[in-house]
């Protein structure tokens, strides 16, 4: 089985995001980047398949700026077999899905696993859009994939249990979580990934217009600074309870 994972490089979760002076973007100077966490789960899920069946081929692809190469190397270090980069400094979400559809046509994977959403803009658009463009079956937010006769079983977590869907291949699923935490790359893996060739193509070279129907950011601002907590300690239990009730009603306005 060949599994393709389209991934996105996003600001690392440890970065304290700052709004740029233009008010519609974030400062990207000097911040650290990593693979979007749900994409990491998708990679782990694919690698768990590869652990079970070594003939599995796991490929990753990304549409993004040149720095996205680092994210691909990280995926290779974790154990993915192939990686390719489609460079575009900016691209509308639909253009990204179209570019990925071209990659799928070319590389013919049996299964495409996307993170359910990227952790930067949280749109959750590209996975379903890609399935739509390809005309493939699509199951969202899965937690497990099991190959079965004639296709795959795709598990979803639901309240109190699981839903199990069966899809013929090829199919596309977006991933909510893998069974294990994404693996830490071995050092030989890191070294091998450093030497691996990553073919690169420009988005325009694929004949895709980077613009397309998209949204416009009107403004961006950091969330209000959270005030410190308050400790009620004057008076006996009854008085404190009264103060608490008053505070919850008048200040927090939750009662």
């Amino acid at each position: 089985m060949k599994i393709l994972i389209p991934l996105k490089q996003v600001p690392d979760s440890t970065v304290r995001v700052k709004v740029a002076p233009d008010g519609t973007s974030i400062v990207t100077e000097g911040i650290s980047w990593s693979i979007s966490p749900y994409d990491e789960y998708a990679i782990e899920m694919a690698l768990e398949r590869k652990d079970a069946d070594p003939t599995t081929v796991v490929a990753v692809v990304t549409v993004g700026a040149a720095r996205s190469r680092d994210a691909l190397r990280q995926a290779l270090a974790m154990g993915c077999d192939e990686a390719s980069l489609i460079t575009a400094d900016t691209a509308a979400p639909l253009a990204v899905a179209r570019a990925l559809a071209k990659v799928v046509d070319e590389t013919k994977p049996d299964l495409v696993l996307c993170g359910k959403q990227a952790s930067d803009d949280d749109q959750g658009f590209v996975g379903p859009a890609l399935a739509e463009l390809l005309g493939w079956a699509h199951v969202a937010t899965i937690t497990k994939v099991v190959p079965v006769e004639g296709g795959v079983e795709l598990w979803r977590e639901v309240e109190g249990g699981h839903e199990v869907w069966k899809a013929p291949l090829p199919a596309l699923a977006t991933v909510h979580k893998s069974e294990k935490e994404p693996r830490y790359p071995s050092l030989p893996g890191i070294m091998k990934a450093k030497k691996k060739e990553i073919p690169e193509k420009a988005l325009s070279a694929l004949g895709i217009d980077a613009s397309g129907p998209t949204w416009t950011i009107l403004s961006m601002e950091p969330p209000p600074v959270r005030g410190g907590g308050k400790i009620l300690k004057d008076g006996d239990a009854k008085q404190i309870a009264e103060q608490l009730a008053t505070a919850l009603r008048d200040e927090a306005k939750v009662l």
Partner: protein
């Protein structure tokens, strides 16, 4: 009396000696060849210190005679010193018996006296050792038949020695003559029991019995754990002379293909020699905080696992270099969960009488797990990812590293390039709220003493200690290189660390990558400042304060006295010791070796045991002071879990100083 080997006797003795020593050297040769399976490692630096250790540790038995092992230490030393004295006599005996040669001094009254007294001392010691084995049965000591056989042989050697010495005296006794004072005391008294006529016969009989026992001993010895009598000599000589807190460097890491230890061939010859030297005394196990709290780790077993695998698989590998060993050591014997339970506190290394290096083996095996298999526990992987991406194991934003100091106006090196000291704050004091208070205390104290210092703020990154001890040498090297580069940029020469892990790594391990600085722990500096009169500490409230030794300050770096001196210099503070778990026997808080970042689900939590020890001394201490941010976090958690946070408050010694500064 001359040796009873007239005529054919000498030839017979020669044949026996050849058989006995042949048996010894044949086995020794086998063991030596097995040792060569290990990887190469140079252990010949600092020859003078090696000789000194040989005298102090091997001859002086320094690591045996220490608390709480006084009795077994002294009895062992007596047997050992007796063995040395008597071996000289035995060599003389054999030479005289075969060639008629005589070693100098062996007939002198002084030597006879020493021999005589040691024979009795050894007999008494053997009796005590037998009694301990049979009736006291010290926990975790491997009590096997071998031990009794050896003790019995030693006892028999002493008895035969005393009897043939007495018989010799009896055989030449002149009834009218008063015994000369030059004669050995015990033998000359025993001689009264032996009729003069029977003297020569008894002499010859016991002489031969003695010689045969010596030769049997030579054959038996290298086939048992008592081989340590021989191997301790090289094991002490080749012990690590680099700082205890320094792990080995993997050189040229980017071009290596395998890392760490997964089979006996991956250990160095010295690590294999450790296995031959282990006497199975169990002192390491006795002191291990992981074992004490119910984890599967047993440091003694780690050493013996390696030895057993060497003896089992080694001969096959010698015969066929390409032969496969049975699965890597940690699969069949030392299991990953044992290796991950280690806090690298060095209690085992400190306790070992024969200088076995346990931590290095454990970390080498961890290196294989982490670097080759990527199989460190998931929480440890999270910590490593955080260090990689954010420069701290908590995963806090890198650019907020200096935020704790903003309202204090502490200068960064970028702002104050001529600062004398770098205060290397460390991740804990930068990001952990409780420890930020300690960092603020450090600033107050340094300012009060007029010390010129600056910090690196967001330019500082984790020193790498947890990564290195989890086995991720690569991450440690990248972190260390980053810090070294930053320090080079600002020309940093002197470093203050308030975290013993930062202190240990920068002082002992950064030199491996070319980073050489004068590094002090904040408490060492404060001690000096108080002594020099640059820091005045006034009277605060009167209180008893227990001192908890951080492993990376105490055992790893020998800093026991300065923190105590600082406490003693604070008027009103009465220092309390957490006896007997203090100083070199200090009990780990459970956070070292990357354990801070791993879950602890098996057995009791190490920090909870520490709090129990603290409560057990019943000292009335209202505070427990330490000099390590991780100890502080663990102690805080411990008093909370035990519900004694109102009784005893964990603090850093620096906080006590800062609270009483006189301006």
């Amino acid at each position: 009396m001359t040796a009873p080997t007239a005529g054919l006797g000498a030839w017979m003795l020669l044949a026996l000696v050849l058989v006995g020593f042949g048996g010894f050297f044949f086995r020794a040769w086998q063991l030596y060849r097995l040792l060569l399976l290990g990887r190469n490692e140079d252990r010949t630096d600092k020859p003078a210190r090696r000789l000194r250790d040989e005298i102090v540790i091997y001859l002086g038995q320094r690591k045996l005679i220490k608390r709480p092992y006084w009795i077994r230490g002294i009895t062992h030393a007596l047997i050992f010193w007796g063995f040395l004295v008597i071996t000289y006599g035995s060599a003389d005996l054999l030479l005289r018996g075969i060639l008629g040669w005589q070693l100098p001094g062996t007939t002198s009254p002084a030597y006879m006296w020493i021999l005589d007294i040691f024979a009795v001392a050894v007999l008494v010691s053997v009796a005590i050792a037998m009694y301990r084995r049979a009736f006291l049965r010290p926990p975790r000591m491997h009590i096997v038949r071998e031990g009794y056989v050896i003790l019995a042989m030693i006892a028999f050697l002493m008895l035969t020695l005393l009897v043939f010495e007495s018989a010799a005296i009896a055989g030449v006794r002149d009834p009218g003559h008063i015994e000369s004072a030059a004669q050995p005391p015990v033998a000359s008294v025993l001689a009264y029991l032996i009729p003069t006529a029977a003297g020569p016969v008894i002499f010859a009989g016991t002489w031969w019995a003695h010689v045969l026992t010596i030769l049997a001993f030579a054959v038996y010895l290298p086939r048992t754990k008592h081989l340590h009598i021989v191997t301790t000599l090289p094991n002490v000589f080749f012990r690590k002379q680099t700082p205890r807190g320094q792990l080995s460097l993997i050189e040229d890491i980017e071009n290596k293909e395998t890392f760490g230890a997964a089979s006996i061939r991956d250990f160095s010859w010295k690590q294999l020699l450790d296995g031959y030297t282990c006497t199975e005394c169990g002192r390491c196990s006795d002191n291990c905080p992981a074992l004490a709290t119910g984890k599967s780790l047993d440091p003694q077993k780690i050493v013996l696992d390696i030895r057993d695998q060497l003896l089992r698989d080694g001969p096959k590998l010698l015969a066929d270099a390409k032969a496969e060993t049975t699965p890597p050591a940690h699969y069949v014997e030392s299991k990953p969960e044992e290796l991950w339970a280690c806090t690298t506190c060095a209690a085992c290394v400190e306790a070992c009488p024969v200088t076995i290096e346990h931590i290095d083996k454990i970390v080498d095996m961890r290196r294989h797990l982490t670097l080759m298999e990527g199989s460190a526990p998931p929480e440890a992987q999270r910590a490593m990812t955080n260090i990689e991406r954010a420069g701290n194991p908590w995963g806090e934003a890198r650019e907020t590293r200096g935020d704790w100091a903003k309202d204090l106006g502490v200068p960064t090196f970028a702002e104050k390039q001529d600062a004398e000291y770098l205060y290397f704050v460390g991740c804990a004091a930068s990001f952990d709220r409780r420890n930020q208070k300690v960092a603020r205390s450090v600033v107050q104290v340094l300012r009060a003493a007029g010390v010129s210092f600056a910090i690196l703020a967001s330019e500082e990154t984790c020193n790498g200690d947890p990564a290195r001890r989890i086995g991720n040498e690569y991450l440690w090297q990248t972190q260390a290189q980053q810090n070294i580069e930053t320090m080079r940029k600002y020309g940093v020469r002197k470093v203050i660390a308030s975290c013993p892990h930062c202190f240990n790594t920068i002082a002992n391990e950064y030199p491996q990558l070319g980073g050489n600085y004068e590094v002090v722990h904040a408490l060492q500096l404060v001690d000096r400042l108080i002594v020099e009169g640059k820091l005045k500490v006034g009277r605060g409230m009167t209180e008893a304060v227990a001192y908890h030794d951080p492993c990376y300050l105490g055992r790893h770096n020998g800093v026991y006295d300065e923190p105590r001196a600082v406490l003693d210099a604070i008027p009103g503070v009465q220092r309390v010791e957490i006896e007997p778990h203090n100083r070199e026997r200090g009990f780990c808080c459970g956070a070292g070796g990357g354990r801070m970042w791993m879950e602890e689900k098996v057995g009791q939590r190490v920090n909870h045991r520490r709090i129990e020890q603290l409560l057990a001394i019943n000292s009335g201490a209202t505070k427990v002071a330490s000099g390590c941010p991780f100890c502080l976090i663990m102690l805080e958690e411990g008093v909370g879990a035990k519900g004694v946070q109102e009784q005893i408050k964990p603090v850093d010694v620096l906080e006590l100083v800062a609270a009483r500064l006189e301006t």
